[in-house]
Symmetry: C2
Subunit: 346 residues, 2 copies
Amino acid sequence: MQELDERKRKILNAIIRNYLDTGEPVGSRTISKYSDLNLSSATIRNEMSDLEELGYILQPHTSAGRIPSDKGYRFYVDNLMKEKNQQVSEMKEFMIEHTERMEQVLQQMAKALAENTNYTAMITAPSYHRNKVKFLQLSQVDKEQLLAVIVTEGNLVKNKMISTREALDNETLLKLNILLNTSLNGLSAEQINLGTIARLKEQAGIHSNIVSDVLDALAGVFQEDEDLEVYTSGTTNILKYPELSDSRKASELLNAFEEKKQLVSLVNETLSSEEQTGIQVYIGDESPIQNMKDCSVVTATYQLGEGMTGTIGIIGPKRMDYENVMDNLKTLKSQLDAVFQNKKEN
Amino acid sequence: MQELDERKRKILNAIIRNYLDTGEPVGSRTISKYSDLNLSSATIRNEMSDLEELGYILQPHTSAGRIPSDKGYRFYVDNLMKEKNQQVSEMKEFMIEHTERMEQVLQQMAKALAENTNYTAMITAPSYHRNKVKFLQLSQVDKEQLLAVIVTEGNLVKNKMISTREALDNETLLKLNILLNTSLNGLSAEQINLGTIARLKEQAGIHSNIVSDVLDALAGVFQEDEDLEVYTSGTTNILKYPELSDSRKASELLNAFEEKKQLVSLVNETLSSEEQTGIQVYIGDESPIQNMKDCSVVTATYQLGEGMTGTIGIIGPKRMDYENVMDNLKTLKSQLDAVFQNKKEN
DNA sequence: TGTTAGCACTCTTAAATGTTGAGTGCTAAC
DNA sequence: GTTAGCACTCAACATTTAAGAGTGCTAACA
């Protein structure tokens, strides 16, 4: 037994599709002509009345057309929407092309995504969840400065300049390097405890202050891993949709985009969801971010094995073109996987 | 001989100050009461009529008050405005505080600046104009990967992972390192020409492909120096000013902020200006960015000797609080200098 | 019993109209 | 040179009016 019979589904579908196009409440007469089930507007009215009672659509005011409710959108996304067959997107050309830094790749992707969809795009860098030290090196850069280079299992590289009173001789440097590597390699943040640190400093003798600096830098690496970077693009696209562009709402939204911190909650939410590889849709109040209660958010998680994951997301009006968005997200997701398979550099 | 006598100056000053406050066209009666030169509104009207003819103020429409023209603002900034005595700002507490990465310092500063002024703030990282290689190092990170670390005179550090067929033995690595350092140290981008490269590759023998990769990374460093990073904050503040917040204007402006590339032209303009250490004010059309023709832009250049410079800027409505903005910019400028004196790390 | 035509009613939107108030320019008097 | 007074202009706001879209309901029809 289903709550909605075939005809009601068709009508609901027609209402939503029409509303996605126009952004205007849609009336019975429109459906009567627009849809392929030859029914008069009066019949449609009866059905619409039912649909409203069931909570799938609602009227902004008496004697206006109907607009989809959150429940309506949800039904649409879950049941009505057709899966587009993965058409070849033109995104490829934007990509790779010797983009030196990952940062740029991601920013470019966000841009492409925003331009393709006309909504706002966000994307986070992939981040390891449990990171371990893989390689450490101290080098004498000039008379008074030492450079510490740290490489993690995920091939994240971090540098830290350390000032010293005077240059260390080669032998001391070599010893320190060996000491650091043998003591710390393969350890994760949790495994470097006070005991490890004390032992290390003891062995370093008069150079224990250098060890301290290295450990600080190390802490920085793990830290950086936590508060992940979020790249956004097309933030101004929301101004294209009248229902979001009034001063107050737009301001709140744009603020959320600028304060990327807020977006992190979206990422976390997505990560903790049951089906990790799938695509997540938040409609209106479903979103973990209060300011986005008038929007819909679609997110996807890309994964690189070894627990390295990132998130892509699209934020737009509730009447967003879900098919297109989800299609875009899917192809991008697969392409991201491909890119990062090839080059895991920083 | 002056174009404006004392009384006209006073009236112009009063008009502008009042307009800065309210954003509304200001009428003769207002000035008659607001200013301390006891004159009736009729007299003011006559003077205002003169000022309008001279191009310092204008009427949005007949029988509205007057608003300052770009020329009026310019006169205000150049002649009328009082220099505030550098009051101690509360910015200090925001700063340094163990901010690991320069990126964060700058972002924080932009934020503080935006919050202090209620306008939009931008800030660029300091960048060397002529950069030279100071130190190079290749390290074997794991069986198939080599890490190249490059340090420049400005202590910019850049990493690049290089994949190899098989691990190099220690001796080869040492030789390569010596070769690279002796050949490239002290050279700038222009100085590394085809001749240098050919010679280098020849000496590297079977490892010439690794040299290629290192050179690529090197090119990346100099490149990165060119397209400098711009950090912005408070972009949504412009929505607070009705004269900028209508959908079209706001959209164009916000776009300019998002596409940071456009902002670079501001930086270049500022850098090429005659008085390098001073503060630059662009009013309306004076700005090099077309989209900002309804705004004023104030920029300052901070300098660290050795040709390393960055730019701070404020973008707001023409009726911005120039005194406060310039004051803020000045104190921040000096504080930035202080910060970067202490720590030149990446 | 499901479908449809017709009609009265509601409510938004936009255009037309009226009203108010701030501000100006001009003239004449001080 | 300064001021008071007055007629005039114009944006902004409120009010009215008209049009149009859409609904719900009823009654007729297949």
